[in-house]
């Protein structure tokens, strides 16, 4: 696939369809991939990579890139197309300045899951028939590939591309039984005390590095309320447990109905806080209370929080009737 992508990218550059390509650039190790814009065929040949570790969603970069001169080629995985479409819907990306090639998605791998097993000194990773062979300075290690799958790929919601100009590989489909809400449901069925303790433990790890926010395609505000001293809630560090909660509640609320569940927030969290569960809670509630809605699926539908159904919407007291106390 990588080779086909490289060839196609060079073709499109050569025939003038695009002037730049956004994709991923290889790093020092097997896994440290950086999203990058390539401007020449030589750069593409030497550095372009698409492999088990190219998990980063490049959609958000296109807000800026689509405003530059010339057209840019973007390779988007199924999940990335949802983010891309949502940004089109919000008028953030200029569609005609991006040439989208849909590429197959994951599952992508998580280097941290290797390291959590004590595998270190990694020199290379080979994926052979579902087994990872990891070459390290301490000798070769193996592990089943499914145990190294990136969190965001574990409950993939769709292998379908919702927007593209061209598709490489087979088109997938929406995965109805992804099980992505199972963990949310599990938490919902705990007692309030247990939920409180769970989230306190998780959110107290937060170092407010803003990686979740800054990587989030839905968090594309010109100036975030948490950075804006005039908003009244700006802060730089969670100086109290309240602020840890506040930041994550408000952030989840601001992206509610807009979050496509791309999972980048949890991927980048240096403390491995399962932030996607907050977003998924909103998505689950929206689906259950206001009808199925998938942000990014289209560019025209009305988002659940900027919409209402006068006769059928439930009252907030429904919270008292659901799940465990």
């Amino acid at each position: 696939m990588q080779e086909a992508m490289i060839n196609r990218a060079k073709e499109l550059m050569a025939d003038g369809t695009v002037s730049r390509v956004i994709g991923w650039k290889r790093g020092e190790f097997a896994y440290d991939i950086t999203p990058a814009v390539f401007e020449t065929a030589e750069e593409i040949d030497s550095d372009f990579v698409c492999d088990d570790f190219t998990a980063a969603n490049v959609s958000k970069y296109l807000i800026k890139e689509s405003r530059k001169e010339g057209r840019i080629l973007a390779f988007l995985k199924p999940c990335d197309t949802y983010s891309f479409n949502q940004l089109i819907k919000e008028h953030r990306i200029i569609r005609e300045n991006v040439y989208v090639i849909g590429i197959p998605g994951g599952p992508k791998l998580d280097a941290e899951k290797l390291k959590a097993r004590g595998i270190t000194g990694i020199l290379g990773v080979r994926n052979e028939k579902g087994t990872l062979h990891i070459d390290t300075v301490y000798g070769e290690e193996t592990m089943p590939m499914f145990e190294a799958i990136l969190g965001k790929c574990e409950n993939c919601k769709s292998t379908k591309h919702v927007v593209y100009d061209e598709l490489m590989g087979e088109e997938g489909e929406v995965i109805a039984d992804s099980g992505r809400f199972d963990r949310v449901a599990e938490l919902e069925n705990m007692t309030a005390q247990q939920r409180f303790e769970f989230w306190r433990e998780q959110l107290s790890k937060c170092i407010r590095c803003n990686a979740c926010r800054n990587v989030c395609p839905a968090c594309s505000c010109e100036n975030c309320v948490f950075d804006n001293p005039d908003s009244g809630i700006s802060n730089k560090a969670a100086a109290d447990s309240f602020e840890e909660n506040n930041f994550h509640i408000i952030r989840a609320f601001h992206v509610a109905g807009r979050c496509t569940d791309c999972g980048e927030c949890s991927r980048v969290c240096p403390q491995n806080i399962p932030l996607h569960l907050l977003n998924r809670k909103f998505i689950k509630d929206i689906n259950e209370l206001y009808g199925e809605y998938q942000a990014g699926e289209d560019t025209t539908s009305r988002a659940p929080l900027t919409n209402y159904n006068a006769d059928e919407d439930c009252e907030p007291s429904i919270v008292h009737e659901r799940g465990a106390e």
């Binding site: 247990q194 939920r195 989230w199 909660n245 408000i250 609320f253 919409n307 209402y308 907030p316």
Partner: protein
């Protein structure tokens, strides 16, 4: 951890829309219908003006309960504001519940300008409900706690 002595007087913030619920609150005053002094009302043009930030802010600063009151569905002065409010507040309350914050600390009630009695009764019952929970400890900012 519950501090549930009888002396506990909760701080309750009530956001009331100008056209229905604030007028309803006035009406309960005009009719001399008593409800606890714990309730302090903030006037907003419409229930849809209530930003989740305000609710969280109240809990941060020491509120023990927050109630939002607006026009009945269908009666919004601005035709649809309370419908948006209903969705937003439902999702926010659900999220607070998800984080293990006591459900009984939050409420939304539709109170018309004619429902002075309902306003008073609602405030009475909500205050009792919050009192039973004791002080808000799960969503307070320790720095703001009264010394």
């Amino acid at each position: 951890m519950q501090v549930n002595d009888n002396n506990f007087e909760p701080v309750i913030v009530a956001f009331c829309c100008n056209w229905c619920s604030y007028a309803g609150a006035d009406l309960s005053g005009t009719n001399r219908l008593n409800y606890p002094t714990n309730v302090k009302i903030i006037r907003v043009p419409c229930s849809c003006r209530v930003n989740p930030m305000f609710i969280l802010r109240a809990f941060q600063r020491g509120a023990d309960g927050v109630i939002i009151c607006g026009c009945h569905p269908g009666d919004c002065h601005y035709t649809s504001g309370n419908y948006y409010a209903r969705r937003r507040i439902t999702l926010l309350y659900s999220m607070l519940d998800f984080l293990g914050i006591e459900r009984d600390r939050t409420r939304l009630e539709w109170v018309s300008a004619a429902e002075g009695a309902k306003f008073a009764a609602t405030m009475e019952s909500f205050t009792e409900q919050v009192k039973a929970l004791g002080p808000n400890r799960r969503l307070e900012d320790l720095r703001c706690r009264k010394q």
